[in-house]
C-alpha cells in the first residue's frame, strides 16, 4: 500500500510539474467554460425587450383597461398599435409588423363581475420561438400576479395563450420551476455539463497520447507502476481543475442568470467528479487508439458531437428519433445534465436522482475500466 501511495504520489507530482509548466492548459480548463456559459446564456436568451405589441380592447371597460395597462407596462411589450377589429390584427401579423397581440374579448368585465373565469387572448409570433416562449412566460407571470390581486377581490382571470408552433402545456410545464427564465437556465445547465465532458475527454486524450508521442510510454509501462496508478495520477490534477471549473461556472451562472442550487452541494460535487472520470476515461480510451496528438484530437472531436447530441443537453430526448433515445441510455453526459438540472433548477434529492446517479456511475466504471485495460495493451 505504501508503495502504491509512493508511486501514485510520484506520478501525480510529475503530472503537476507538467501542468505547472503548461499554464495555458490550466487557464483553458477553468476560464473558457465560464465565458462560454455566459455567452451562451446571453446569446440564446437575450432578455426579451421591446416586442412590438398591438392591443385590441373589445370590452372597453375599466377592468379591461386595467389589465391591458398592467401588461403593456412590462418592458417586454411596446405598444405599437391599437386595433378595433380582429381583421386588422391578423393583417398586422401577416405583415410581420407586430410580434404580440393582446386581445380582450367582449364580456371580460362582465365575466369578472359574475365570478366566472374571464378570458384573455394572447397571440405571439412563434417564429422567434425563444422570444415567444419567454414572452409567454412573462405574460403568465403577470397574469398570475394580477390574479392574486383580483383574488383578493375574488375575481380570477384565465389566460388563453395562442402560441403558433409552441403548445401552451409546454410553457406551463417548464414555467412551473422556471418562470420567465426558462431558456437561459436550460442552456446554462447544458453548457456546464457539456464543457465538463468535452474538456475532460479532450485534455485526457491529449495528455495520454503525449506519452506515446514522445516515447515515454514504454518506459512508463516497464516501470513497476500499474496502469490504474498511472491513469489515476494522470486524472487527478485535471479532474480537480475540471470540477473547479464546474464550481466557478455554477457560481457565475448564479450571479449572472440567478441559477439556484436548490439540491445538495455534496451530491453536485460527487456527480461532477464521477462524470469527470467518465469523460477522462473516454479521452484516454480514444488516445490508446491514436499514435499522435492530431489523431487523438480528431477522434475526440468526432465522438463528442454524438455524445452531446444524444445527451439531451440541447434538445429534449423525448422529441428525438427512437434510435437516438436508445443511444442516449449509454451516454454519460445525459445523466450528468439530468443531475445538474435536477440539483439546480428542480431542487431534487438523491431519492429522485438515484437512477441517473447510478447509471452515470456504472457507465464511468465501464469507460474508465476499459481505458485502464487498453492502456497496457496499446503497444501491441
Amino acid at each position: 500500500m505504501t508503495r502504491f501511495l509512493r508511486r501514485y504520489w510520484a506520478l501525480t507530482r510529475k503530472e503537476l510539474h507538467q501542468l505547472r509548466r503548461a499554464p495555458k492548459l490550466v487557464f483553458q480548463l477553468t476560464i473558457p467554460p465560464t465565458l462560454l456559459l455566459v455567452m451562451w446564456g446571453y446569446a440564446l436568451n437575450p432578455e426579451v425587450k421591446n416586442l412590438r405589441t398591438a392591443v385590441m380592447d373589445a370590452d372597453r371597460t375599466p377592468a379591461s383597461r386595467e389589465i391591458l395597462a398592467m401588461l403593456t407596462e412590462l418592458e417586454a411589450f411596446q405598444v405599437k398599435a391599437n386595433y378595433l377589429s380582429t381583421t386588422d390584427l391578423e393583417k398586422a401579423f401577416e405583415d410581420r409588423s407586430i410580434d404580440v397581440g393582446i386581445l380582450v374579448p367582449p364580456g371580460f368585465a362582465r365575466d369578472l363581475q359574475a365570478g366566472r373565469p374571464a378570458e384573455l387572448q394572447v397571440i405571439i409570433d412563434g417564429v422567434v420561438a425563444n422570444s415567444a416562449a419567454v414572452a409567454g412566460g412573462y405574460l403568465l407571470r403577470a397574469v398570475a400576479d394580477h390574479n392574486e390581486k383580483l383574488l383578493r377581490r375574488r375575481l380570477p382571470v384565465t389566460l388563453e395563450a395562442g402560441l403558433p408552433r409552441l403548445g401552451r402545456s409546454e410553457i406551463r410545464a417548464i414555467a412551473m420551476f422556471n418562470p420567465g427564465m426558462v431558456f437561459s437556465w436550460f442552456y446554462v445547465t447544458a453548457i456546464m455539463g457539456v464543457v465538463l465532458f468535452v474538456d475532460g475527454s479532450l485534455v485526457a486524450s491529449a495528455i495520454a497520447v503525449r506519452e506515446k508521442e514522445v516515447g515515454t510510454i514504454e518506459q512508463l509501462l516497464m516501470s513497476p507502476a500499474q496502469s490504474l496508478e498511472i491513469l489515476l495520477a494522470k486524472t487527478t490534477p485535471v479532474l480537480s481543475l475540471l470540477v473547479l471549473g464546474l464550481m466557478v461556472s455554477t457560481y457565475t451562472a448564479h450571479l449572472v442568470f440567478g441559477l439556484p442550487l436548490r439540491g445538495s452541494f455534496g451530491l453536485y460535487l460527487l456527480a461532477g467528479v464521477v462524470a469527470g472520470f467518465a469523460a477522462m476515461g473516454l479521452g484516454i480510451l480514444l488516445a490508446t487508439y491514436s499514435s499522435n496528438q492530431q489523431q487523438a484530437q480528431l477522434l475526440t472531436f468526432f465522438i463528442n458531437p454524438f455524445v452531446m447530441l444524444c445527451s439531451g443537453a440541447f434538445a429534449r430526448i423525448e422529441n428525438m428519433p427512437r434510435i437516438f433515445q436508445w443511444a442516449s441510455m449509454i451516454d454519460p453526459l445525459r445523466y450528468l445534465v439530468e443531475i445538474i438540472r435536477g440539483l439546480t433548477v428542480k431542487g431534487a434529492d438523491l431519492e429522485l436522482l438515484w437512477r441517473p446517479m447510478g447509471a452515470l456511475t456504472l457507465l464511468t466504471i465501464a469507460l474508465y475500466g476499459l481505458s485502464v485495460w487498453r492502456f497496457r495493451r496499446q503497444l501491441n
Binding site: R7, L11, R13, R21, T216, E218, Q219, S223, P224, A225
Partner: protein, 645 residues
C-alpha cells in the same frame, strides 16, 4: 592539390544573445576545405555541427566572422550547394520520381539536364527499379540515397550532409559512402557530419568539435599517427581485476590508456616493446594469465578520446554509491531466456523462433539491420508486446513475471527519449527513483551519482528539453539504472553521444555487470558491439550468428589488406573491376581489399597495380572489423536464400 572552395575564419554564432539563454554554438571556428575533399565534422550532439551546416547552407547568418562558399557568401552560392538534413529532406507521400522532379523544379533545372541526371543517379544508386515507389515506403538507406539524389539533381559543386546516415543500417551505410566516394573523386566537395567513427575513417579530413570549437583537424590517419602510441589487445582470465590493476598504472603514467572491451583490454603504450613486457610481467605476477592478441596502431576512437581528454581533463570515475552486497555470486546464473520466440504481424513474421540465454554478469549485444526484429524481440521479453508463440523466462520465472515486483528489478531504456522534456533533470530523476522504489535515504546519493556520470552536476534545475539529445541519453541511462536492476535492457543507448561520454557509459555498463546484472544491449552501432561479452546477429527475424567478438571474427573467410596508393580514385576503379565490387572498399585515402590469404592477396594486388601502372605505397594486413563480419554474414545469408529459391 586543387583550390580552396569553402573558407571560414573566426566563424561565430551566438543564439539568444543578451538573454539568460544565451548559447554560443560556434566559437571562432577556422577551416578551409579544398575541392574534392570529404570533410568530416565529428562531435557529440550540441557540439555545433548543425549550426555550422546551416551557416554554410546560407539559411543562418553568423554572429561574427567570415565565411565564403565558392568565393561568395553562402546565400549567394546556395544554388550551387546541395544540402541534406537528417529529417524532413523528403516528402514521404510522393514517389521517388516525384521527389526528384520537385527538387529539380525548386532549383530550376532544365528538362534535359533533369532527365539525364535523374537517370544517372538512379542508376548509380541502384534505385532504377523503385521510381514509382512512395518515398515513405523505402528502407532507411534508400531514403537517404534518394535525399542525396535530390540534392544532386541540380549538379551542386558543394554537398552538405548533416548526419545523413543516422539510423541507417550498416549495409546501406556502406553503400551510401561508396556513392559519396565516387562523387568526391569526380571533384565534388563534400562536408559531412557523422556520429560513426567507421564513417569518419572514410573522410579525407576530419575536424573534431566540442562546445562550438574545433579541437583538431587532420586526415584520419594523422589523428592516429600523431598520438605516437601503440595499441595492445590483451586477454586475461579476469578482465575486471586486470582493468583495475592497469588503471592504477595509468594513473602512475606507465601506460597512456586502458579500455575494456567485451572479451579483451585495449592498452595504449608509448614503447611497444619495453612497455608491453612490463605490463605482461605485472599481469603475470597477479596470475591473470595475460595473452597479447595483437599489437598495432591505435584506433580513431582512441585518438578522439585522447583529443577530448586533453581539452576536458580526466573524466570522473564515479562508482555506484552503494553496491549491493555479495552480488557477484549470482554471476553465471540464468537471468533471462527465450525459447522459440515468434512474433507475427499479420502475414509478416518479425521474429522467427528466437532462442536466447543471458546470464547474470553478462553483457549481451543484439545486433542487426533496421527491421531485423531486434526491437520487437526486446519488447516481447519486456512484456510490451505479446509474443505469438514461444517461451520466456525472466529472473527464474516462466510465468507470472508481469508483476510490479518483477518489473521493479528491471531497468529499461527504450530507443526513444525516456525523459520528460517539461520536467527538470532533477524532477525526472526523482520521478524514476520513486517509481522504482529507491529507498528515500539513498535517493540523494543515487541522484548525485546519476548527475555526476552524466556530466551534469549542478544542473539539476535545468529543463530537460533544453539538453541536446546526446546528453539526454546520458541522463536517461542514469535514470534507468538508479534502482540497481538485476536485468538491464538498453536500446541504442549511446546514439548522439561523443566518444568520451560513450566510454564513460560503457564503464558503468561494465560496473553493472560486475555487480551481477544481466545486460542486453540492442544496437546497430557495430563499434558498440565490441564492448559486449557475447553478440547475437539478427537478420530478417533470425539469429544468424552468436558468439564473443573474437569468435565471430572467425566467421570471416580470408584476410583484409589495407592498401595505400598514390592515386586512390584510379586504384579503386582498377581493383573493383578486377576483383569485383564487394571485395574493395574505400576509406578516405586508403583501400580495404578482401583476400583469401595474405600472400595471394598481395600478389593479386601487385599484379593489378603493375598492369594499370598504379603506384602503391603500402599493403598491410589488418584485422576485420565487426562490421566486415556483419556484412559478410548478411551476404552469405542472402546467397543461401537465393540458392534455396
Amino acid at each position: 592539390m586543387t583550390g580552396v572552395v569553402i573558407r571560414a575564419r573566426g566563424l561565430t554564432k551566438v543564439y539568444d544573445r543578451g538573454t539568460k539563454q544565451e548559447l554560443c554554438a560556434l566559437d571562432a571556428v577556422d577551416f578551409e576545405i579544398r575541392k574534392g575533399e570529404i570533410f568530416g565534422l565529428i562531435g557529440a550532439d550540441g557540439a555545433g555541427k548543425s549550426t555550422c551546416f546551416k551557416i554554410l547552407a546560407g539559411v543562418l547568418e553568423p554572429t561574427a566572422g567570415e565565411v565564403e562558399v565558392l568565393f561568395r557568401s553562402p546565400r549567394e552560392s546556395r544554388q550551387r550547394v546541395g544540402y541534406v538534413t537528417q529529417p524532413f529532406s523528403l516528402y514521404e507521400d510522393l514517389s521517388v520520381a516525384e521527389n526528384l522532379r520537385y527538387a529539380a523544379g525548386l532549383r530550376e533545372v532544365d528538362e534535359e539536364a533533369f532527365a539525364e541526371r535523374s537517370r544517372r543517379y538512379l542508376e548509380a544508386f541502384d534505385m532504377k527499379a523503385f521510381t514509382d515507389r512512395l518515398a515513405g515506403r523505402l528502407s532507411g538507406g534508400m531514403k537517404q540515397k534518394l535525399a542525396l539524389s535530390c540534392a544532386l539533381i541540380a549538379d551542386p559543386a558543394v554537398l552538405l550532409l548533416d548526419e545523413p546516415t543516422t539510423g541507417v543500417d550498416p549495409v546501406s551505410r556502406r553503400d551510401f559512402w561508396d556513392a559519396l566516394g565516387g562523387l568526391a573523386d569526380r571533384g565534388m566537395t563534400i562536408v559531412v557530419a557523422t556520429p560513426y567513427l567507421d564513417e569518419a575513417e572514410r573522410c579525407t579530413r576530419i575536424a573534431c568539435m566540442e562546445n562550438g570549437k574545433i579541437l583538431a583537424q587532420y586526415p584520419p590517419a594523422e589523428f592516429v599517427s600523431r598520438m605516437a602510441l601503440t595499441r595492445l589487445e590483451i586477454r586475461t582470465c579476469d578482465l575486471q581485476r586486470a582493468e583495475e590493476m592497469l588503471e592504477r598504472h595509468e594513473r602512475d603514467g606507465i601506460l597512456a590508456d586502458v579500455q575494456r572491451f567485451g572479451d579483451r583490454l585495449d592498452v595504449l603504450v608509448s614503447d611497444p616493446v619495453a612497455d608491453r613486457d612490463r605490463i605482461l610481467e605485472a599481469l603475470e605476477a597477479e596470475e591473470l594469465k595475460p595473452e597479447v592478441l595483437r599489437s598495432g596502431d591505435p584506433t580513431l576512437e582512441n585518438a578522439f578520446v585522447a583529443t577530448l581528454r586533453s581539452k576536458r581533463g580526466p573524466e570522473s570515475h564515479a562508482h555506484f554509491p552503494d553496491r549491493a552486497t555479495a552480488p557477484a555470486e549470482r554471476c553465471g546464473e540464468l537471468a533471462l531466456g527465450t525459447k522459440g520466440l515468434v512474433k507475427r504481424f499479420g502475414s509478416f513474421t518479425a521474429v522467427k523462433g528466437l532462442d536466447l540465454e543471458i546470464r547474470h554478469g553478462e553483457i549481451y549485444g543484439l545486433l542487426g539491420a533496421n527491421g531485423a526484429g531486434k526491437t520487437t524481440a526486446i519488447k516481447m521479453i519486456c512484456g510490451l508486446v505479446q509474443p505469438s508463440s514461444g517461451e520466456i523466462s525472466l529472473l527464474g520465472r516462466t510465468k507470472g513475471f508481469r508483476t510490479a515486483a518483477v518489473r521493479s528489478r528491471i531497468g529499461y531504456k527504450s530507443q526513444k527519449f525516456t525523459l520528460y522534456d517539461d520536467l527538470t533533470i532533477g524532477e525526472n530523476l526523482d520521478f524514476y527513483a520513486a517509481m522504482y522504489d529507491v529507498p528515500p535515504k539513498l535517493c540523494r546519493a543515487r541522484k548525485d551519482w546519476a548527475l555526476e556520470v552524466s556530466g551534469l552536476r549542478g544542473e539539476e534545475g535545468m529543463l530537460t528539453g533544453r539538453l541536446p539529445d546526446g546528453w539526454k541519453q546520458r541522463v536517461a541511462f542514469g535514470a534507468a539504472v538508479m534502482h540497481q536492476p538485476d536485468i538491464v535492457f538498453l536500446d541504442e543507448p549511446t546514439s548522439g553521444v561523443d566518444a568520451l561520454a560513450r566510454r564513460a557509459m560503457w564503464r558503468m555498463i561494465n560496473e553493472l555487470a560486475d555487480n551481477g546484472a544481466a545486460v542486453l544491449v540492442v544496437t546497430h552501432y557495430l563499434e558498440e558491439a565490441e564492448q559486449c561479452n557475447r553478440i547475437g546477429f539478427m537478420a530478417a527475424g533470425d539469429m544468424v550468428a552468436e558468439g564473443s567478438p573474437s569468435e565471430l571474427e572467425k566467421h570471416m573467410p580470408g584476410v583484409l589488406l589495407e592498401v595505400r596508393a598514390a592515386n586512390v580514385a584510379a586504384s579503386l576503379g582498377a581493383f573493383r573491376q578486377a576483383l569485383g565490387r564487394d571485395r574493395v572498399t574505400q576509406f578516405g585515402e586508403r583501400l580495404h581489399v578482401q583476400a583469401p590469404d595474405v600472400g595471394a592477396g598481395e600478389r593479386e594486388i601487385q599484379a593489378i597495380a603493375e598492369a594499370q601502372s598504379l603506384e602503391l605505397r603500402s599493403i598491410e594486413p589488418i584485422p576485420f572489423s565487426l562490421e566486415d563480419v556483419f556484412l559478410a554474414l548478411i551476404e552469405r545469408r542472402r546467397a543461401a536464400s537465393d540458392k534455396a529459391a
